[in-house]
Assembly symmetry: C2
Homo-oligomer: 373 residues x 2
């Protein structure tokens, strides 16, 4: 799909990263964006008009709602679609896959030709510009600082007779450690939600964000993915730590995950095939004694995809997992995050972020993989 | 629309508060939810299956993706819709207005009867249960603590020879004050994004979140709307402060806004009409010397709606503004937030949150309106 297809978005830039990508304007209320022959327009209410003019990308033409629709009673989405269908009667409009059905039905009913197909409205979003690369590198620097804070707290913790961790004279919980991580992100201008600090058996459930007292000699999976408030770009990284001594199985699993991360990352280059990297990670872990499979109770081993693109969305293209055949392109940025999860003893995950470069790849995650603290 | 209409949602609970309302399950990846004759189902991948069983509302039946769709190649939205159309061939499915057009088109193409109409899928969402009332009251307590932190910082600030504010031996900026507010929210288990600390002329633009050095003797609008991480419910409040001495016009405008807030709030009761409250606020401010209107440059005066419902969305039903005719019901919770904005000197906004009770209303905002600090 050519980049200069006529486009239509009706959303807030909170809910549509496409809209944020196109306009650069952060707004929590929905507004209309359209693009005709590569010329970009956004229609703004009185409340946002001035801020939109100040903060949008320079190539976006900001239209005043009240100037293009004179009748106050018509200042609603239907009025906007009527305006478009009158002004551009013969156009096909391409909308993002997440365009609200209600408004698509409305636009179609008044005669707009709406195409909603399974491709990216802005296919170049996965290929980052130099500015975007800087924004994500910055987000990763924030993420690493927040991880350092978490690691330091674990290191500073004492271990009581019950093998519970004590920090600042109180029991250290997942909740406290998440709070300290999130505060560090806020200090650095980012917002982290759903930060994962999962200890013991909870670490075996990749999306369990963790709760309760953290203990020594057990793995603690820490996954931090803050979004920089100013730019909207995300960081994402995971480390797994044991305060005290890890068991042999945890040490061996950690080593297998580490080898899978390093081994699959080394294959990142222009033209490499995502599913091959995923399969390589699976193989490396299997060859180191850790199988993936399913039994009567559920799945075990490496039960998620190897990675995902990161940008204005925390999960975006490219996808790195089984059946993902689209070769990597120069300037793509994504995570490499193998993991192993067993309900008997817990989980391990290690996650870095890489950029596809001319020479192969560059990792944005300059942070050692240390298991025992 | 009866509550037991058959419903279909395909979304993440991050992007669909309807889904979060129905399931109580916080997930950042999309999943299928459907409801037939009032029986609720959610389909979960291996990654989320166990967590969904642990964390969803008890009346939601959690289905294992791999149990209902045996062919791995069919484990995608189309496979899910095929499953539904085979299992329930004759049903009408109601979807939320923000259901992604791409998936609605897909479901229709394989023969599902999809209805996307302009009403709430869960009309009772605006009428809060006792639990929800507690969650929002709690969110408001967090919000007030964050506001207290901001007020205290302004009070502690010194004023230098240029009338700039100095706090902790550095120039106090909007950015620093927002950071301190957001840290306080994190400490209390909430996430605040887009916090507004708009000083001087920036306070005249209601959605300008503010930037740069804060000054004495000028209004600073502080609008804090944190979301409690655990429950997903929001708080929302605004105060306007002047560190030092306010000018006469700022004092008078503040008084007019205060009277509009108190006067319109007193009319909150079961059966009251939202647009009348809005009109009353406009009248009170006009009678106190502050008109609303438009000139060559733009709008001035009271340029937004009087309030909005708050729950799992920061903006939800009921709406309180012009043309809003639906009478208030018992258990509705919403903001009352009159404001005045003039590009010559800045803006004032005061925002409280109220619950419609049998006796009239209860305010959740126990926080004095003090202009000068």
């Amino acid at each position: 799909m050519p980049e200069n297809t006529n486009k239509l978005i009706f959303s807030s830039s909170e809910s549509s990263s496409d809209l944020l990508y196109a306009t650069g304007f952060q707004a929590s209320d929905p507004f209309l964006y359209f693009e005709v022959d590569g010329i970009k327009f956004a229609v703004m209410s009185s409340l946002e008009l001035q801020r939109a003019k100040n903060e949008s990308k320079p190539d976006v033409n900001i239209l005043d709602y009240s100037e293009i629709i004179h009748d106050v009673a018509e200042r609603n989405p239907k009025g906007l679609f009527n305006y478009l269908v009158n002004k551009y009667p013969s156009l096909d409009w391409h909308i993002p896959t997440n365009f609200p059905c209600f408004y698509a039905d409305m636009a179609r009913e008044i005669g707009m030709k709406i195409k909603c197909e399974n491709f990216e409205l802005f296919p170049k979003r996965s290929i980052k510009t130099p500015d975007e690369i800087d924004f994500i590198r910055y987000a990763m620097n924030v993420t690493m600082k927040a991880m350092r804070r978490a690691e330091n707290i674990l290191r500073e913790s004492d271990i009581n007779a019950k093998n519970e961790l004590i920090w600042n004279n109180e029991l250290l919980t997942s909740e406290i450690l998440k709070r300290e991580i999130n505060i560090e992100c806020i200090r650095l201008g980012a917002v982290a939600k759903h930060t994962i600090v999962a200890g013991g058996l909870k670490s075996a459930v990749p999306h369990d964000t963790g709760s309760g007292i953290l203990r020594a000699h057990e793995p603690v999976v820490i996954d931090i993915f803050p979004r920089i408030e100013k730019t909207g770009y995300w960081g994402d990284m995971t480390r797994t730590f044991v305060r005290g001594k890890a068991s042999d199985i945890v040490k061996n699993a950690y080593h297998a995950v580490y080898l899978a991360k390093e081994g699959s990352m080394k294959e990142v280059r222009v033209g490499a095939i995502p599913e091959k990297l995923h399969a390589l990670a699976v193989d490396i872990m299997k060859n180191n004694g850790f199988k993936t499979g399913k039994d009567d109770i559920g799945y075990y081993g490496f039960i998620h995809s190897l990675g995902h693109g990161v940008g204005l969305d925390i999960h975006e293209n490219p996808k790195i997992g089984p059946k993902q055949l689209k070769p990597f392109e120069l300037g793509e940025i994504f995570t490499i995050e193998p993991g192993l999860y067993y309900r008997e003893w817990g989980g391990i995950r290690l996650e870095d972020m890489v950029l596809v470069t001319k020479k192969g790849f560059e990792s944005f995650t300059d942070y050692a993989c240390t298991l025992e603290l």
